[in-house]
Each structure stands twice: as structure tokens, then as C-alpha cells.
């Protein structure tokens, strides 16, 4: 009996307690991210205002284009406006990240502070992002409902449970993919000072080939095929399309496979560049 008790205590001490401590540790990081935002309230509010402005501009633009049309590129006005409203939410959840700070951390040498701390750097980055995404998602939902109430667009509500489930999975894949992709962009900082330029170019590509400005399937065939081959389309466009239920089953399966491929491929690249990058970083004596 006493053996059982001591064994249980040992098991607890080696598994549950450290796990609970780890969770507490990373929970602190999440809360810390929220606190950071509260400090830079103005920047945060401005950023949200800008997202709303972009959303409104897209909304008005498409409304104007649809004034005398019922259908365009296979979309009705309500479908298109639904797409536009969702872009804001998806973009915020997928794109809300603090991984760009990592690039600056590497360049300034501040990365060293994090390396010597008793935390797994990736779990640290993920926790920061969870903090970031939860706060931003909250705001994006609020904006979504506010605009929905103000403009009362004919909104497309998905009722099929499996489709909703599939879109959540697609969204989850997008979050992972983008997180890894952003990490890769930051890791460039291990080898070069110009980390702003590639990130900027990726923004441009995201806007255009990611489905932010418009749904990708309105592009002419050649461009659409290109967009499907690149990962950008799976950050924003694919999850929304799944939600709208406009994809045939083979298209959905194809899309999920490609998303999964990019998620795994990027993870592999992250792993490799992190190891090589750290070697270069420590070699410089930081």
C-alpha cells in the first residue's frame, strides 16, 4: 500500500506537477502579451481601425460593382460580401502573430535573453501568439457583428455541421502554416540584416495571392492555378471557401492535402533553419 502511495506521489511529481507548472509559465506569457497590448493601446486601436477601414472599402467597392448585376465570377452579392466580412476575421486570427518580433530579437541579440531562460523557445512563441490571436479574434468578432448590424448584408450562414467542422480544421491548418511561415521569415535574421524586405514582399503576395483583396477563383485560370500551387492561398482563401460550402469534395480533399503538405514542409524548414541559425548566432558570439 505504501509502495503504491509513494509510487503515485512520484508519478505526480514527475508528470502532473511539472506539466501544471509549465502551463502556468506559458499562461503568464499569454497574459504578458495582453498586457503589452494594453500599453500600446493607441497603436492597437489604430491597427484595428485600419482593418475595419480596409474591410469597409472592400465592402463598398464590391457593392458598387454589383449594383446592376446578379452574379459575377460565380458569386452573388451576398456571397461576395460574406467573403469580404470573413476576410477580416480570418486574416486577424491567422495573421495575428508576434513572430515578427523574433527577427528583431535575433538582430539585436536579445534572443540570447530568451535562450538562457528555462523555457522552450517555440512554446514561448506559440504562447505569445495564442495571447495575440485570442485578443485579436475577440476584436475581429466584435467588428464583424458591429458591421453586420450596421449594414445588414444578406449574409450566408453555413448550416451543414460537417462543413463547419471542416472549415474549423482548415482554419487551424492555416494558423499553423502561417505561424511557421512567419517564423521562417524571422529566422532570415540569422543570416541577413534585411528582414523587412522579404516580409514586406510576402505581405504583398498575401494580399494578392492569398485571397485578402478578392476571392482567388475570380482570377483567370492561369493565375488561379499559380495561386493554388503557392501556400498563400491556403492562409485566407481556402478556409473561407470551405465555410461557404462552395468547394466540391475532390477540391476540398485536394485543398486539405496541400495545406497539410505546406504545414509539414514549413515545420521541417523551421526545424532545420532554427538549428543552423542558432549555430550561426552563437558563432557570432552573441
Amino acid at each position: 500500500m505504501s509502495l503504491l502511495i509513494s509510487f503515485s506521489i512520484l508519478a505526480l511529481n514527475t508528470t502532473i506537477v511539472p506539466a501544471a507548472n509549465a502551463v502556468k509559465k506559458y499562461l503568464q506569457i499569454i497574459k504578458g502579451t495582453w498586457a503589452e497590448y494594453m500599453e500600446y493601446r493607441l497603436s492597437f486601436v489604430l491597427w484595428r481601425v485600419r482593418m475595419v477601414m480596409q474591410l469597409l472599402v472592400a465592402y463598398f467597392l464590391w457593392s458598387a460593382i454589383f449594383t446592376d448585376k446578379q452574379q459575377l465570377f460565380g458569386y452573388t452579392q451576398s456571397m461576395m460580401l460574406t467573403y469580404v466580412l470573413f476576410v477580416n476575421v480570418v486574416r486577424t486570427i491567422v495573421g495575428g502573430t508576434r513572430t515578427q518580433d523574433i527577427g528583431t530579437m535575433i538582430q539585436s541579440g536579445a534572443l540570447s535573453n530568451y535562450l538562457i531562460r528555462p523555457l522552450n523557445f517555440f512554446r514561448f512563441a506559440i504562447s505569445r501568439d495564442i495571447g495575440d490571436k485570442t485578443l485579436n479574434a475577440f476584436c475581429a468578432m466584435g467588428e464583424f457583428f458591429l458591421l453586420f448590424v450596421l449594414f445588414r448584408p444578406e449574409f450566408y450562414l453555413q448550416t451543414n455541421i460537417t462543413t463547419i467542422g471542416a472549415s474549423i480544421i482548415a482554419l487551424f491548418l492555416s494558423v499553423i502554416m502561417f505561424f511557421e511561415f512567419s517564423l521562417l521569415l524571422s529566422f532570415l535574421g540569422f543570416w541577413t540584416n534585411e528582414i523587412w524586405a522579404p516580409r514586406f514582399i510576402s505581405f504583398v503576395l498575401m494580399e494578392f495571392l492569398g485571397g485578402v483583396l478578392f476571392p482567388l477563383d475570380i482570377l483567370p485560370k492561369a493565375l488561379f492555378s499559380l495561386a493554388q500551387a503557392l501556400p498563400f492561398g491556403y492562409f485566407i482563401y481556402f478556409p473561407i471557401k470551405v465555410y461557404l460550402g462552395q468547394l466540391s469534395t475532390p477540391d476540398m480533399i485536394g485543398g486539405f492535402s496541400i495545406s497539410a503538405f505546406w504545414a509539414v514542409f514549413f515545420w521541417y524548414l523551421v526545424h532545420v533553419t532554427w538549428i543552423r541559425g542558432l549555430r550561426a548566432y552563437t558563432a557570432e558570439g552573441k
Binding site: L42, L46, W47, L56, L61, A64, I65, F200, V204, L219
Partner: protein, 246 residues
């Protein structure tokens, strides 16, 4: 090494400008592939407005962007003291301290867009109207400058004003489209509160669709008033800065 950096930055900026313009034009082409007019503007008219928007933006980047976004830093680190001693107008010094020639090629590309769209519309080149348009563009730039300058002046009181670049992006978010595209409340905001209409739409409208002379006069009035406000507010801020640091 610095010269290489300079050239690289230059190249990057041109790349930035070109890629934005390319996407913008592509976007308009796709949109107008489906409709002949959007909010009463034809494809060439809308593209001309877009070219004008880029042109004014790139001029802003060249002359004022760095300087105005630096004002909060000057306040925070007390760097006005050196400038105040100089015999030139402080506002002039602060506003034009550093000029970024990187954006000028982009301004030229934008001008190229304006010219090609104007000729595509088949309008005649009247010196008078071209002159008024040029004045309206300068007027628009002055209003834009004044708005950003007033916001930057706020840093005298709210020292940690970081996101001026964000403010600029936010303000000009809807600027590339004719103001008639928007319905209220945005329509109202873009005419009376943040006069994007006066800065961007009116010069383009004057050139291609015609603008009533009342609106032209109003535009210049808005320009003068905003510049005076920016000027007075800045020196009011300097007084506060002086009294705070002594």
C-alpha cells in the same frame, strides 16, 4: 558599405512602389473588366485618380514622411534645442530636415500613369486647367501635411506617440477610390472630417470630370486653413515643450 546600403534601399523602395502600383492597376483592370463605370467613374478616370493618389503619396514619402514621424522622437529626446537656435523657421527645419529621394522614381511612375490615362481619355491639354490641377495637387499635399503635422504635434503632450505611419496608412486607406464610392458614414467622414475627397478626389475630378468653381475655391480655403492650424498648433506645442524642459 553605406553606398551599397543606399543603393539597396533605393532599389527596395522602387520595388515596393512598383509592386503596389502593379497590384493596384491589376485590381482596377479586373474590376473594370466587369463593369464600365464604378460610382460614375470610368476605368481611365478611376486609374487616373489612382495614379494621382500614388503620386501624392510618393511625394509625401519623399519630403515629409521621415521628418514628421521623427517629431515624437525629437520631443522624447529633447532634440529640438539644437534646431530652435538656428535662424530659420523651426517648422520649416523640422518638416524638411531629411528628404528621401528613394520615392521620387515611384512618383514619376505615378505621373506616367496619370499622363497615359489622361491621353486615353482623349482630352485636350489646356494649360489653364493643368495649372489649376497642379495647384490642387499641391493644395492636397498641404492638407495631408497639415493633418499629419497636427497629429505629430500631439506628441508634445502624449509623448509616446509611436504609430504615425499607421495613422497615415489608416487615413489614406480609402483614398485611392473616388469618394463617391462610399456611402454614409464614410462618405461624410471623407469629405468633412478627414478630407480625403479634397486631397485626392477633387484634383482628379477637376481634371477629368470637371469641378464646380465653388468646390475649387473651397479646396484652397481648406488648404490654407489647415496649414494655418498646423502652423499655430506646432508653435503652441513648442511653447509647451520649452516650459516643460526649463
Amino acid at each position: 558599405m553605406r553606398r551599397l546600403e543606399y543603393r539597396f534601399d533605393f532599389f527596395l523602395n522602387v520595388l515596393r512602389g512598383l509592386s503596389w502600383m502593379f497590384i493596384g492597376i491589376l485590381g482596377f483592370t479586373i474590376i473594370f473588366g466587369q463593369a464600365n463605370t464604378i460610382a460614375g467613374w470610368s476605368k481611365h478616370e478611376a486609374l487616373l485618380l489612382y495614379g494621382l493618389f500614388v503620386f501624392i503619396s510618393e511625394l509625401w514619402y519623399t519630403f515629409f514622411f521621415l521628418n514628421i514621424t521623427n517629431i515624437p522622437k525629437y520631443v522624447q529626446y529633447g532634440q529640438f534645442d539644437n534646431l530652435i537656435l538656428l535662424p530659420l523657421s523651426l517648422q520649416f527645419l523640422v518638416s524638411l530636415k531629411e528628404v528621401l529621394p528613394f520615392a521620387l522614381p515611384n512618383a514619376l511612375f505615378a505621373m506616367f500613369i496619370i499622363v497615359t490615362q489622361y491621353t486615353a481619355l482623349g482630352k485636350s491639354m489646356e494649360i489653364g486647367s493643368l495649372l489649376v490641377t497642379a495647384l490642387l495637387i499641391v493644395n492636397g499635399l498641404a492638407i495631408l501635411y497639415s493633418i499629419m503635422f497636427v497629429i505629430a504635434t500631439l506628441s508634445f503632450w502624449f509623448i509616446r506617440l509611436h504609430a504615425l505611419w499607421e495613422v497615415y496608412q489608416t487615413i489614406t486607406e480609402g483614398a485611392r477610390y473616388p469618394v463617391d464610392l462610399f456611402k454614409d458614414p464614410l462618405h461624410f467622414i471623407f469629405i468633412f472630417i478627414i478630407p480625403l475627397a479634397v486631397i485626392f478626389t477633387f484634383p482628379a475630378q477637376f481634371l477629368v470630370k470637371g469641378l464646380s468653381w465653388q468646390l475649387v475655391i473651397t479646396s484652397f480655403l481648406v488648404g490654407i486653413i489647415s496649414f494655418v492650424i498646423a502652423h499655430k498648433f506646432f508653435y503652441f506645442g513648442i511653447k509647451h515643450y520649452n516650459s516643460a524642459s526649463s
